[in-house]
């Protein structure tokens, strides 16, 4: 099936969603996703940040879709034409979604451990207006300890359901879920019962905001002062790949997370032993430093080369023209 996203054509299999088709193309045209997680079946459709405009339904029925659609839930049709960043309507709608997500968000980024790798922060920075129009009190919750390693800040939660899907699919039984309805919904465990499972730590990685955080890393350091290093170890827990990112501060490993791809999704899930108990360099085989996008705050003040970047961008067209001119003059 042929689908065109922002003018880029691509051939995909039937049943692929627009979001996944865009990810196959890559680059700036990939819609952001707060709730969709490619490793979790059934995720998506909650946050509405991935809204796109379908300007041509399909080859058979070329009428545009009447409303913006969630690209993580809409499958492609043959000859479909999709607009993401080329449509001002989509940008405007996404800005509205960001404002909506931030209505009850406490904006305590200076305190939050997720700051620097938070998807909501990135989204707010890219789309959100600097001011809020909301005049009422934000909903507040006390922070809850889910077990002794995970802390839940319900105030920061955007109800993406990723952690619920993780607990359902990665662990054998889940004991947390969404309580109440509508504006009162909250993630919780029944009577604060501890999540006690070998893979429960993965809910920290899948959380797009700072609602579920690692208690062993709590307030230890800011993400951008730590050095990420790729490492692996032989893990005997069934289902754990043992491939992780270690976050160093000086000599110490202060945090262990799963490796995340360019969309912030864990490549493979890891067990709690790897995540919480193995915090010595001796436990790991180091593979090398982790590549960090130069747009990320984590790469601030780190330089790949000692040579400073050129101030003037080299223009190949200009160089070619100059060479031609020089040759012509010397010939004369």
């Amino acid at each position: 099936m042929k689908v065109t996203i922002d003018g880029f054509p691509i051939e995909v299999e039937a049943g692929t969603t627009i979001l996944n088709a865009a990810r196959m193309i890559g680059g700036d045209i990939v819609p952001p996703a707060m709730c969709y997680y490619s490793k979790l079946a059934g995720s998506g459709g909650k946050c509405r940040t991935c809204l796109v405009k379908v300007s041509k339904g399909s080859e058979k029925d070329p009428r545009p879709m009447p409303k913006l659609v969630a690209s993580c839930r809409t499958t492609v049709m043959d000859g479909m034409e999709v607009q993401n960043i080329t449509s001002p309507e989509v940008i405007e709608a996404r800005k509205g979604v960001v404002e909506m997500l931030l209505i009850n968000h406490p904006l305590d980024c200076p305190v939050c451990d997720q700051a620097g790798e938070c998807h909501l922060q990135d989204l707010g920075f890219e789309h959100g207006a600097a001011k809020t129009r909301y005049e009422f009190d934000r909903r507040t919750f006390d922070k809850i300890d889910i077990g002794d390693k995970i802390q839940l800040h319900m105030t920061r939660c955007i109800l993406c359901y990723r952690c619920v899907f993780t607990a359902d699919q990665i662990t054998d039984h889940r004991i947390h879920g969404i309580l109440n309805r509508g504006d009162h919904s909250e993630i919780s465990t029944y009577i604060q019962k501890a999540v006690d499972n070998d893979f429960s730590g993965n809910v920290i990685d899948v959380c797009p905001v700072g609602a579920l955080t690692d208690k062993t890393f709590r307030f230890k350091n800011r993400v951008w002062f730590t050095k990420p290093v790729e490492a692996h170890r032989e893990c005997h827990t069934e289902g754990c790949c043992g491939k992780v990112t270690l976050w160093y501060k000086g000599e110490d490993v202060i945090r262990v997370t799963a490796r995340k791809d360019e969309y912030g999704e864990a490549e493979e899930f890891i067990c709690n032993t790897c995540r919480f108990d193995k915090k010595k360099t001796a436990d790991w085989v180091i593979e090398g430093p982790r590549k960090i996008s130069n747009k990320s705050v984590i790469s601030a003040n780190h330089y790949e080369t000692l040579k400073p970047l050129p101030v003037v961008k080299s223009n190949p067209l200009l160089i070619e023209a100059n060479k031609e001119q020089f040759e012509r003059e010397t010939r004369l």
Binding site: C109, N221, R222
Partner: protein
């Protein structure tokens, strides 16, 4: 060769006139300039005793502010240290315990906050980066000292005095 700018001047050494040969008039003239300066207002000041008025946007020593209830504003978010081009700032965060609500404004606070005054270039970027309006470079000139270690200012020197004092 002819000079390009036409500004070149040919100098010739002339013989001294009688007035110049007499030598004393020139001495008197020179001394009179010196004497005149005795009665003029001095342009310098006696620094440690006297101090000049600072400009309104003068950037001196840092101070960590308290809020209107006397609680420390700093929440150890690390943005000052991130923005610091001289990497002069370091900090360690800690969690506020129950009963310390009157000391710290947020649930996280800086347990250790150090500025190396020898590294600091007083650019004021930390002040601009601070989301909590906690740090200002509104102090005096950083005083001199003998040892390098004494220039690493901790919270004892940086935090503002409590309100009731």
């Amino acid at each position: 060769m002819e000079s390009l700018s036409n500004k070149k001047k040919q100098l010739t050494v002339k013989p001294l006139t009688l007035m110049e040969k007499a030598y004393l008039p020139a001495i008197v003239q020179g001394l009179s300039i010196t004497m005149k300066h005795f009665f003029k207002k001095p342009v310098t000041i006696q620094y440690p005793e006297q101090k000049r008025e600072f400009s309104e946007n003068f950037r001196g020593m840092h101070s960590l502010k308290r809020d209107e209830e006397g609680r420390e504003r700093c929440t150890a978010c690390g943005l000052c240290a991130l923005s610091c081009p001289a990497e002069a700032i370091t900090m360690t965060a800690a969690e506020r315990q129950k009963g310390e609500e009157n000391l710290y404004r947020e649930e996280k606070y800086a347990a250790v906050y150090e500025i190396n005054m020898l590294r600091c270039i007083f650019c004021g970027l930390c002040e601009e980066a601070c989301p909590k309006e906690a740090i200002y470079l509104d102090g005096d000139i950083v005083p001199s000292d003998y040892l390098r270690k004494d220039f690493i200012y901790g919270k004892d020197k940086l935090v503002e005095a409590p309100l009731n004092q």
